[in-house]
């Protein structure tokens, strides 16, 4: 009984959820309607030089000249679903036709419509001194509606002689236009020069010389008066085991140098070292016992 109630309530919740989604989905992505598009080029004192009205999506500007100090004003009303709508982004983009650099102006909402205005000075602050032809685009964006990029046309921008702005630097230039004389030099990677090594002959000579003291010792030691191998006869088995063990330990070191790594060698050395230690202990204790017996 309880499980049935649970199932029914889950179903009800699901239906309500999907209904709500469907309602929202109905208005998830819709079209914006642009109306009352008016473009005015105002001179420095505020009087209108050119006034044009447009209907979206037809362009309206046919490259009129913007004298120095003039401003380009655009007013537009935006509606969605019949109601006045305030999108998140309303911008005017002026993109230079020669270099592809763009400056932007943000729209202000006033009494039901957006007003956007841009002057040469404002553009200079963004991209630097760059007179010439500019493509004017109205950008409107909002997550709940399809975005709009309304190309209004082109204007010819004149910069005033008194402007102190710098021309756009190489850093500012976009990848869209890349004049050839602007490319940075290609980096040639220089690998680290190998260390200076001596000629091979010198190394071999010194390697040979390094064996000379060893040979000298091996030749000299038997000539010392009193040198003998009596210790071997005193405890022959242990002597053999111990010296054999030591020799194989050194052989293990050679193999380690040639082939193995330390992680492989240490356990082997440890185990074999125990054997060498044991046989050495037996040998040395028997030798010391004999010595003590002799001393007594």
């Amino acid at each position: 009984m309880a499980s049935l109630r649970l199932a029914i309530s889950a179903l009800v919740v699901q239906v309500a959820f999907s209904l709500a989604l469907a309602q929202d989905a109905g208005g998830l992505v819709s079209e914006l309607v642009l109306g009352n598009v008016k473009v005015v080029i105002k001179s420095m004192d505020g009087s209108a030089i050119t006034t044009l009205t447009a209907a979206y999506p037809k362009p309206v500007l046919a490259n009129p000249e913007m004298p120095a100090g003039a401003s380009l004003d655009v007013t537009i009303s935006i509606t969605k679903g019949g109601e006045v709508f305030k999108p998140q982004q309303v911008m005017l983009m002026l993109k230079s036709k020669s270099l592809g650099l763009a400056g932007y102006a943000v729209g202000k909402f006033k009494s039901g419509s957006y007003a956007l205005s841009i002057t040469a000075a404002a553009l200079e602050k963004q991209i630097g001194k760059l007179p010439g032809e500019y493509e004017v685009t109205l950008l409107i964006g909002d997550p709940s509606a399809n975005g709009v990029a309304y190309v209004l046309g082109t204007v010819e921008l004149r910069i005033s002689a008194a402007s102190t702005a710098l021309e756009p630097t190489a850093v500012v230039r976009t990848a869209f236009f890349q004049p050839v004389n602007n490319l940075k030099p290609e980096i040639q990677h220089v690998f680290r020069a190998p260390e200076k090594r001596p000629p091979v002959v010198v190394s071999y000579i010194f390697a040979g010389l390094a064996f000379v003291p060893l040979v000298a010792v091996l030749l000299y030691v038997p000539t010392i008066a009193g040198v003998n191998f009596k210790g071997w006869t005193a405890a022959p088995l242990y002597s053999l085991l111990f010296h054999g063990g030591l020799g194989s330990m050194l052989l293990l070191y050679v193999v380690f140098f040639l082939r193995l790594n330390l992680a492989q060698t240490l356990p082997l050395a440890g185990i074999w070292g125990l054997f060498v230690a044991g046989s050495g202990y037996l040998l040395l204790s028997s030798l010391s016992k004999q010595r003590l017996k002799k001393d007594q």
Binding site: I224, L250, F257, A269, G280, S285, S288
Partner: protein, 109 residues
């Protein structure tokens, strides 16, 4: 004149030292000679590769130090080490040498 007298007296006294000590002295000179050779080579051609130079040089120096210790402990004239039997000293010497040479061969690369 005086120098030859000194050298003569030294060699006479030295002949009286036990055989073990003389053998160890020979090995000491061998270690010093090899170390000196490696040092001369390094001076001549530079320190690259430094780890190889250090491994070789310090193996000679370490061997020298261990042999000096053994000589001190084995020499009957040295009363400081009367408590340590020569066999025990030799066992320590063997162990220390094995460890030294393992480290040296590992460092040589």
């Amino acid at each position: 004149m005086v120098l030859s007298a000194i050298i003569g007296a030294f060699s006479d006294e030295y002949k009286k030292s036990p055989v073990r000590v003389k053998v160890l002295d020979a090995f000491l000179i061998y270690a010093v000679a090899t170390a000196g050779l490696q040092f001369a080579y390094m001076i001549l051609v530079g320190t690259f590769p430094f780890n190889a130079f250090l491994a070789g040089f310090l193996s000679c120096v370490g061997f020298f130090a261990l042999t000096v210790c053994l000589r001190m402990q084995v020499d009957p004239a040295n009363k400081d080490f009367a408590g340590i039997s020569p066999e025990r000293a030799f066992a320590d010497y063997c162990l220390a040498n094995l460890v030294l040479h393992l480290v040296v061969w590992n460092y040589m690369g």
